[in-house]
Amino acid sequence: MLKNYFKIAIAVLRRRKFFTFISLFGISFTLTILMVLTAFIDKVVGDNYPDKKRDRLLYINRIQQKGKDNMTSGTLSYYFLSHYTGMMKTPVKVAISSGFSGTNTYVNNKKIAVSYKYTNAEFWDVMDYDFTEGRPFNKQQVDNADHVAIISEDMKRQYFGDVDLVVGKYIEADNVSYRVLGVVKNVPVTSYMFFSDIYLPYTVSKADYKSKSYGGSYMGVLLAASKDDVPKMQTEYENLMKRVPVESKDYQHLYSHAKSFFTSYVDTGNEDTSGVFIVITAISIFVFIFMLLPTLNLVNINITRIMERSSEIGVRKAFGASSKTLVYQFIVENLILTLLGGIIGTLLSVIALCAINSADLIANLELTINFTVLFIALLVCLVFGFLSGVYPAWRMSKLNVVTALKAQ
């Protein structure tokens, strides 16, 4: 019986090639988009390496000053961050680090691109980088402006090749050589606040970290003693910023916030447009449209598809099919269609993720299928195939045989 349903389902799908294509395309494409999207979100938002204590952290990565005609917005200076957060009482530690910047270095006359980043010593306490060897630099080494470096595994392999241990060896960047103190697991570049190949004490930076201007290349992360202290810490920073004078008379307002991870990740740096709102709206509209199209389309196709087959329904009933059997047949047909879409969608997702991973578009980003989401998506496919088939099938099965046979 099932084999026969399968046969007729395939025959019907083949006869209506265009509609089958649209349906399958709709289902599988939606699924693929969903899988790639969730893989990204999983990795970018869900993966909490190296800032594992997120629920105790607040991120400061912008300062904005606004006047009548002009506005400046950007990352902050080391001075600003250390000076003002130094006045705060709630944070137990404050990580300060520059955004990563790129340079070149040479290994056996081969040029390699490296990114480097300056941090303070507390950075290593606030963050939970996984050290595969060695250890972070301490406050004394930072104060002495020691030429020491923490490097990523990736960097270790590229620079030193296939060796076991590299602590104590020297790595050269921008014609300065640094002693390697430790090696950490890679951070994907999408964690832009923490990604780098080489991490250096901020005191070795050539730029003047003592400059008192507000803008600079640094970001700060505040660590609270406990989760419950986070709101207090946030308010403290807000109040502190209200008292900070603007830098020049061109400006009237100064804004800087200590935000939770997600809010800070999508920060646009502009007070008037909330990044979170934009991102969430964009994702919702995207998902909604991508879910809506195949839904409507499939319901529609189902209705016309079944209507077209009223002669078949009449014949089957005349020759002994009960209404129940017919409903069953149409539902099975629909499930076959949606499952086929699901399988194609899964394959496409795997291919798309492999392609994204192997194209190395984004450094160190290893996207994987979220199996929970895949499972739920396939389940939704099934439920949905079931539902979009039930109504038309039920209606047609109730059809009087004589009417069904006449309607040709």
């Binding site: 019907v12 078949e312 014949v315 009933k317 020759f319 002994g320 099919a321 009960s322 040709q408």
Partner: protein
């Protein structure tokens, strides 16, 4: 085999009431080949559909193969049709998505059979109508006469006691019509199948055992 008593059928729409059948009583004996004639719209198809349990009369009683069929539910009715009745329609009503063999197997799907048995019985039925060499074709690849022969094979594959044929030769030229008629006559003669056939063709009608004429919903002969 079939006993109709005082069958009345009224079609009601919002504006008009049509009396399609007016107190028709009819007995068809086992093994009989009966034809029904009458002008267009006189109720022939309605009568045949009622005999085939595809439609219910407004009044009157039906007994088929010694069974009163009034109180059967959907499932029982389906089973009864499957075992007892075979239909042949003027416009064939084959399923175009299925190959000839699958079309013929259709009635067997709704009873307990294995795929092997179905294939065997369907091939046998196709041999009887002379189409054993067309099993893999699709209906659209066949001529009208061939399609009607496939439809006959489908009607007889389940070895029903009764075959109901509504103008089976209506869409065919006389040569093809005669072929179809010969198949039906042989079926009646060799297998003893009871056949009720609606036709417009006097020649065809005269080849059957008995002729019933309808006029305006009433039996006139």
């Amino acid at each position: 085999m079939i006993r109709l008593q005082n069958i009345e059928k009224v079609y009601r729409t919002d504006t008009i009431e049509t009396l399609a059948l007016n107190s028709v009583s009819l007995d068809v004996a086992k093994g009989e080949f009966l034809s029904i004639m009458g002008p267009s719209g006189c109720g022939k198809s309605t009568l045949l559909n009622i005999m085939g349990l595809l439609d219910v009369p407004s009044k009157g009683s039906i007994k088929i193969a010694d069974r009163v069929t009034e109180n059967l539910n959907d499932k029982q009715l389906a089973q009864f049709r499957n075992k007892t009745l075979g239909f042949i329609f003027q416009s064939y009503h084959l399923i175009n998505d299925l190959q000839v063999l699958d079309n013929v197997e259709l009635p067997l799907l709704y009873r307990d059979t294995t795929a092997k048995e179905r294939k065997m019985l369907a091939t046998e039925a196709l041999e009887k109508v002379g189409l054993a060499n067309r099993v893999k074709h699709f209906p659209t690849q066949l001529s009208g006469g061939q399609r009607q022969r496939v439809a006959i094979a489908r009607a007889i594959v389940g070895k029903p006691d009764i075959i109901l044929a509504d103008e089976p030769t209506g869409n065919l030229d006389s040569a093809m019509g005669n072929e179809i008629m010969d198949i039906l006559i042989n079926l009646n003669r060799n297998e003893g199948t009871t056949i009720v056939m609606v036709t417009h063709d006097e020649n065809m009608a005269h080849k059957t055992h008995r002729l019933v004429r309808l006029f305006d919903g009433s039996q006139v002969q």
